[in-house]
Amino acid sequence: MALLESARTGRLPAETVAHGKPRRRGKGRRDNLTAYLMIAPMAVLLGIFVMWPLAYSLYLSTFKISFYKDPQFVGLQFYQYVLESTDFWHSIWIGLYYALIVVPAGILIALFLASFIKTLSKRMAAFMKVTIYLPAVVSTVIASVLFTFMYQDEGVVNWILGLINKAPVAWLNDPDWALPAIAVPGIWLGFGITTLILLAALLDIPESYYESAMLDGAGFLQRLWYVTVPLLRNVLLYLFVTGFTLAIQMLDLPLIMTNGGPTGATSTPNFFIFNSFRDMTPYATSFSLTASLLLFAVLGLISVVIFRLIRSDKAVDG
């Protein structure tokens, strides 16, 4: 809290405390020096690997880049090209659509599993936690290959459908089904860690709240709605923000399972940019660079909106 206050006032805590006492101010300066020294490696790291490349990328995006000829200055032309590209906006929509399937579904499943684990004995809970966390350590590549096999005409998914006489569905080759089909491994890979975070949050809610609610005659659904969900709100928002930002940037699953197809139905923003980069023309190099910068802006905007939501809920745990 003190840190937040100082950030708002622009003054360091030591300075605030030591106001009007020269001896203490001297110590404050030494502490400042220590603090600056401690953050120096991170500042250098950010400078070299984030700030400088970002600034240089912005500069480069005003050129038509060729690795063999002198770059040609084109101003903001590529920004116009990207903003005019229907494929770019389509990919943003696909990313949002994917995130809208994966994040809420993942959180719901995780909430259900966490509530279930909470009711188990210690030993069973430990076993379940390991079991549920396992998919999180499976590589996306392996999961992609696994699910691609499962979705084949003669794969296990169509075999089950065959039992109820539904014709084989071309899961990965049907424009309506492809995105939901790749969202399933997306959910599977993510719910392990989400479950553990939610379980920790659930265990943090004092039992006395539930006991009071029960004394007041609250049923299961009422306890869930009036006790559990409000007290999980900040954790849920955190999961929503991080899940959303990660999901919209999904690359591996569409790259391996569908190559962005069929007819661009799984072309997420990162896949679209990667695919543009794979094109060998100098035009594509500048285009993919500019599209990356604009995606950065779009993701930034989404994050700003969600961070505002978080700030509005700060009082919940107060």
Binding site: K27, R30, D31, L33, T34, L37, M38, A40, P41, V44, L45, I48, F49, S66, F67, Y68, K69, Y81, Y151, Q152, D153, P168, A170, W171, L172, N173, D174, P175, N259, G261, P262, T263, G264, A265, F274, F277, R278, D279, M280, T281, P282, Y283, A284, T285
Partner: protein, 446 residues
């Protein structure tokens, strides 16, 4: 105490900052291209059929053993990672000295200054040996930028004679028109075997349908001077409808396990007919020999049955030298030795391929003429006599144009757009590419 703490913090931060700076700055293993009088060059070979990897390795080893002036480092790069790996290497200034390049990419790469001009680096006799109809494939503005290795028609019809007979079809009279092909596919489709397989993803359709685009309209969906798109010509509607009928009719696998270039669905008996390149002959011989006796090859059917219309493009591979290579002459010497030197080296390649590809050199043709295996293969005879003479050169325009048209075919197949709408969208996308990449008038001048 505070002083001591400060000192410790200072040391830690100094060490970390220094190590960061070092990790950031220490790369550089030097270009190391010349050592003890031996020039080392890198050669990236795109991964093809297994026998090709073995052949390239054998020949590179032989080249390295035969002399000490040039040492070739061979690296095999998978096709699906080729573009990003090459582009990253170009950006870092470490592109390979020699690389495999297909005919379709030569013009764009030469225009962008990526390829070294080979005329001064290879002897003139090497270029004289190239067959007349292939010379234009490797040149731009009158200069040679690549040395060709082979040509292979992109689209041929493979079909199972036993299954055709069982379905009451005459295997000696394969389908001649697209309508007949659909009838065959329908009759050959059973609960276990699909009647046909052909490309169904935009990235495959983009290039594998070039021959059929020529077949339908006599031209590609771009004006000859690359000034505008002409994808909305009515003849293309029939092409899209043909693909759509095959897909929507359920006559082909809806979830293909492999791409167009891979003939394994046919080899393993999952389909009764297949559109595939001539290279599939080699794959069948090497991997599915039991299928040879039950297979016949025919030119891919024509829209209206006219067998003299093109159905395939003559694609193929070349070796190119990077324009920024520090050892262009050494790189060219290797290319000259491998592709333009002793004809027996390339005859060995065609033998390994099961004679499923065609030479581009007169001298290699002569060396193969006396070889019964090379001339008597019934599959290759059909392809040589009935497909190659009508084959067209691969287009040199940027891939975005081919992909836009491939996407139109896929959209029609998978019902995400009606045939006219799909073509309209492709037309506008192609015009967009022409405008934004300033393509008008930049078509190759041979």
């Amino acid at each position: 105490m505070p002083n001591r703490r400060n000192a410790i913090a200072m040391v830690i931060s100094a060490v970390m900052t220094a190590s960061l700076a070092l990790t950031g700055c220490s790369s550089g293993d030097g270009d190391g291209s010349s050592k003890n009088g031996t020039t080392t060059i890198t050669f990236w070979q795109q991964k093809f059929e297994d026998y090709q990897q073995a052949w390239f390795k054998k020949q590179v080893d032989a080249f390295n053993a035969a002399q000490t002036k040039v040492k070739v480092n061979l690296q095999v790069v998978p096709a699906d990672t080729w573009a990003q790996k090459l582009k990253a290497a170009q950006a870092a200034g470490s592109a390979p000295d020699v690389q495999t390049t297909n005919y379709g990419n030569i013009n764009a790469a030469a225009a962008n200054g990526e390829l070294a001009e080979l005329d001064g680096l290879l002897p003139a006799s090497a270029f004289d040996d190239i067959k007349a109809n292939v010379k234009s494939f490797v040149s731009a503005n009158g200069k040679h930028y690549a040395y060709p290795m082979l040509v292979e028609p992109s689209t041929v019809l493979y079909y199972r004679t036993d299954l055709a007979q069982a379905a009451g079809l005459d295997p000696k009279s394969p389908p001649k028109t697209w309508a007949e092909l659909i009838t065959w596919a329908q009759k050959l489709t059973t609960s276990k075997v699909k009647g046909m397989t052909i490309a169904s993803a935009a990235a495959d359709l983009g290039w594998s349908s070039w021959g059929l685009q020529y077949n339908a309209c006599g031209h590609l969906p771009v004006a000859d001077d690359w000034s505008k798109a002409n994808a909305t010509d009515a003849c293309y509607e029939q092409l899209l409808q043909f693909y759509k009928d095959l897909y929507q009719g359920g006559y082909m696998p809806k979830t293909p396990k492999v791409g167009y270039a891979d003939g394994s669905p046919y080899g393993s008996g999952e389909v009764a007919m297949m559109a595939g390149g001539s290279w599939v002959v080699g794959q069948l011989k090497q991997t599915f020999p039991a299928m040879i006796a039950k297979t016949a090859v025919a030119p891919f059917p024509s829209m209206d049955g006219d067998a003299t219309k093109p159905t395939a493009t003559l694609g193929g591979w070349t070796l190119t030298v990077d324009a920024k290579s520090k050892s262009k002459q050494s790189a060219a010497d290797f290319v000259n030795w491998l592709l333009a030197g002793d004809p027996s080296i390339m005859t060995d390649f065609f033998k390994a391929s099961g004679y499923s590809k065609y030479t581009v050199r007169t001298s290699v043709d002569q060396a193969l003429a006396g070889n019964a295996d090379a001339t008597s293969d019934p599959f290759m005879k059909v392809i040589s006599d009935q497909v190659v003479p009508y084959g067209k050169q691969e287009p040199a325009y940027p891939w975005d144009i081919a992909l836009a048209f491939g996407t139109a075919i896929e959209s029609a197949m998978k019902n995400t757009a009606s045939v006219p709408d799909a073509l309209k969208k492709a037309d506008s996308q192609i015009n967009d590419v022409i405008k934004k990449q300033s393509l008008a008038g930049t078509q190759p001048q041979h």
